[in-house]
């Protein structure tokens, strides 16, 4: 794909345009199709059990969207998303545990493993639903600001950033395991009875949680798409491809990267919070090194730079994991590895690049003949490039660096 010289190739939100007029409808149509599948088809054809599994996959898709911005567009290999997933998940789980226990009571596991009869001070605020919901967003955001500011200001990049992210996720899971009396240790927090006043034992409510997750996913996808298409999105790609050049043009890459990093952290936190009522558990096993890598695999297989690619990839990988392990309980891990190797070896851009690879030649020709379309509307992805010298320069620099950037 490095051979292409189209100015919009670097941003490539979806498969690149066939004709601008059709491109204009593709996003809304895809969006409507997704909504139709999630809200009408899936609940109609899937059993309650399969629907609750789909709810879990959608949580992973939310993480993947964040990764798609930070890694696919920003070039930051976020290998420690488990940390933020865990923060959001534990914030939600702590509230649900306290709500189950009732006012003034200790959660059940503290009665078993705890050393004292009083609630730890850092648990107390989570009794309030508002604090818990705010915590789901603000805790990952605050930590990401803190980490990101120091890391990006010191210009830590590439493998060092990835190793640092992973080490933090690992440290966080160790911390939780060590504090069994107050965090449930390796068991994590499980056995939730209610969700903001609704019983989690009722299958109707579990369905409701699925709809909630599907709605959040679609909403966040729409929001993230706006970010992809915005001037900021262009700038982020520019920073990914040539940070020094952007700095030279008068932008501060620290802030550009920081926003993408914090955004992806918040996405992971929200996914973690939704995961808790959907699956009914949050534990250190979900936030360490292995799950952090698994979050990435989905986005990588689907196509990290493509929003639908990353989301569908995350869903597909989780779905394949369930299906393969049901069919071949003893050997499914080999299939999973094979899938990953095949995609990495033959489709480095992920499955989303499949459509772009095959019919490349005819499209290039239509693109080079502007006369084919009497009134060519400006492609939204090109527009910012035309509007200012800064992004134009950045865009042209992106053409060859797309693969190298990640």
């Amino acid at each position: 794909m490095t051979a292409t010289t189209r100015p919009d190739a670097a941003t490539a939100a979806g498969p690149a345009a066939t004709s601008p007029r059709r491109a204009r409808w593709r996003a809304p149509l895809g969006f409507a199709l997704g909504a139709l599948l999630l809200f009408a088809v899936a609940p109609a054809v899937l059993s309650d059990f399969r629907l609750s599994l789909l709810a879990k996959y959608l949580c992973f898709a939310i993480v993947a969207i964040g990764i798609s911005l930070a890694w696919g567009r920003g070039g930051m290999l976020t290998l420690g998303q488990g940390l933020f997933f865990g923060l959001g998940g534990y914030a939600m789980a702590m509230h649900l545990k306290l709500a189950d226990a009732g006012p003034g009571q200790l959660p059940d596991f503290m009665l078993l493993y705890g050393d004292s009869d009083t609630l730890p001070w850092w648990w107390a605020p989570f009794a309030s639903p508002a604090v818990a919901l705010a915590g789901v967003v603000l805790l990952p955001a605050a930590l990401a600001v803190l980490i990101g500011y120091f890391v990006f200001r010191r210009r830590v990049r590439g493998a060092y950033f990835a190793i640092l992210s992973q080490a933090l996720a690992f440290a966080f899971s160790l911390l939780l395991i060590g504090q069994q009396a107050t965090t449930g240790g390796t068991n994590g927090l499980t056995n939730f009875q209610g969700f903001f006043g609704y019983s989690l034992l009722d299958p109707v409510n579990k369905r409701m949680i699925y709809f909630l997750i599907a709605g959040v996913l679609l909403g966040l996808m729409a929001l993230t798409r706006q970010i992809f298409l915005s001037r900021y999105g262009e700038l982020l790609v520019a920073v990914r491809d040539s940070e020094e050049r952007v700095r030279f043009l008068g932008y501060d890459p620290t802030l550009v990267k920081l926003f993408a990093y914090v955004y992806s952290a918040v996405m992971a936190g929200m996914a973690g919070a939704l995961f808790v009522p959907a699956v009914g558990i949050i534990s250190p096993a979900l936030i360490g090194v292995v799950p952090s890598i698994e979050f990435l695999i989905g986005a990588a297989i689907g196509g990290r730079a493509s929003l639908p690619g990353a989301a569908l990839g995350a869903i597909a990988v989780a779905w394949a994991q369930t299906t393969l392990s049901e069919e071949f309980p003893a050997g499914w891990t080999y299939f999973q590895a094979l899938l990953f190797i095949v995609v990495v070896a033959f489709l480095p851009g992920g499955l989303a690049s499949l459509g772009r690879l095959l019919p490349r030649r005819p499209r290039l020709r239509s693109r080079r003949a502007p006369g084919a379309d009497p009134e060519p509307e400006p492609d939204p992805r090109e527009a910012p490039a035309r509007s200012g010298p800064a992004t134009a320069a950045a865009s042209s620099s992106t053409t060859t660096a797309k693969e190298a950037g990640a």
Partner: protein, 423 residues
């Protein structure tokens, strides 16, 4: 601002409108679907088992991949052996048992997912399996919500009594407390505690410390290593310099290999400072290497060498099916026993219905390889005899001490004054 910039803005607004529309759609679809409020009696469906004229399905839920696979695969094998034997003898209530095996993958949420699949999708009459406490805690709400049965075959830290779980492994008063009684009898005055960092060792050590305080035993140190850790030089040196009379070891899996190697190279032996382990059975002895473990003590309810016709038959059948060199161990025996106990419960109830089976549980006995076991209907644990064993050079463990007959299960240690503050 050029027009080129404004045009896409307008389009963006339209897209935002679409997003809002989708959210509204989500809201409207979701709101009328609200079900029972928390605290209300929401009659969960209570999954129905899929039982045909001539077959009944059961689920086997074990880690077949991941760190726990080495231990859990042997449990799955023992379960399959019991099912095969029962089927050969005519099945349960005239029905052949059809096992459905699922991989928990050493991952707790996967355990929850697979248990739900077995119950809701496959319609199994009962599930056998789980090893770690974390996996049991993860599936517990699934079984309670679906009113389905789990048979859990591994010794654990107690402090639990789910109405939908039968615990056929030892609880603390059948494994840890008798081991401490034995050490106290042997004149041990000080202990050093070494464990993996997870729920079982931490809870076990809490119980040990309470016992020690009441019985005048000094605890000279307490160290935890992360699960899977192989760095034990520091801990072995601390153990060596503490000079305790004995070490109480709750390490799990691979860590034991590294720990015992360092322990040996620190110049410690079973004579100078014996180690009592509660997670090392015959299978683990084989993988650690008997030369590092010779003479060390273990506390279980069953050994391959346990005497009795039932065990001779079990060991012979297991080795005939899986290989002459395969050892049998306590969790395998407890798993094997659990299938027979379920069969006896079903036959006494005359039905596969979970409520009927539970009601029939109390007092059911089975001549297990470990000796006669009896279900205690109140706690849904079983009466078990404790055995302290010594590891031999051949990798087998021989009994050196045993409790006076089967011990009544007491998961909350209510019958022990010194344990009052624990639960």
């Amino acid at each position: 601002m050029s027009t080129a910039l404004r045009a896409p803005r307008a389009r963006r607004v339209r897209r935002r409108g679409l997003a809002a529309l989708a959210l509204v759609l989500a809201g409207t679809l979701a709101l009328p679907a609200c079900g029972a409020k928390a605290g209300e009696e929401s009659e969960g469906p209570g999954a129905t088992a899929d039982i045909s004229e001539d077959t009944v399905k059961v689920g086997l839920l074990n880690s077949l991949s991941g760190t726990m696979a080495i231990s859990e695969v042997t449990v799955r094998d023992a379960l399959l052996l019991a099912i095969e034997e029962i089927n050969a003898a005519g099945g349960v209530l005239g029905r052949r048992i059809e096992p459905i095996s699922e991989d928990g993958a050493s991952d707790w949420p996967t355990f929850a997912e697979k248990s739900e699949k077995l119950i809701r999708q496959d319609g199994v009459a009962a599930v056998f399996g789980c090893w770690t406490s974390a996996s049991r805690k993860a599936v517990l709400p699934v079984f309670e919500q679906n009113k389905a049965l789990l048979f859990y075959p591994v010794q654990y830290e107690g402090l639990e009594q789910s109405p939908y779980i039968f615990y056929t492994g030892a609880t603390t008063n059948q494994q840890i407390v008798p081991a401490l009684d034995y050490l106290a009898e042997e004149g041990v005055d000080s202990l050093y505690l070494v464990g993996s960092d997870y729920v079982f060792p931490r809870t076990a050590n809490k119980i040990i410390k309470a016992y020690a305080e009441a019985h005048g035993i000094e605890i000279l140190g307490e160290d935890y290593a992360p699960l899977g850790s192989t760095e034990f030089a520091t801990i072995a040196n601390k153990v060596e310099s503490a000079g305790a009379d004995a070490v109480f070891n709750t390490l799990n899996g691979d860590s034991n290999v590294a720990f015992f190697k360092e322990y040996t190279s620190a110049g410690l032996t079973a004579e100078t400072m014996p180690v009592v382990s509660v997670s090392i059975a015959e299978e683990e002895v084989k993988s650690i290497g008997a030369q590092y473990l010779e003479g060390q003590l273990t506390s279980w309810n069953y050994y391959q060498t346990t005497e009795g016709a039932a065990n001779e038959k079990f060991v012979a059948a297991y080795q005939a099916k899986y290989g002459e060199d395969k050892p049998t161990s306590d969790p395998m025996e407890a798993a094997y026993t659990s299938v027979y106990l379920w069969k006896a419960m079903v036959e006494k109830a005359g039905s596969f219905d979970v409520a009927d089976v539970k009601a029939a549980a109390d007092g059911i006995t089975f001549e297990a390889p470990e000796g006669l076991v009896t279900i205690d209907g109140e706690t849904q644990h079983i009466h078990k005899t404790n055995r302290i064993g010594r590891i031999g050079a051949d990798g087998l463990i021989t009994e050196v001490w045993s409790s006076d007959g089967p011990i009544k299960p007491d998961p909350y240690l209510k019958g022990y004054d010194w344990a009052e503050g624990l639960s």
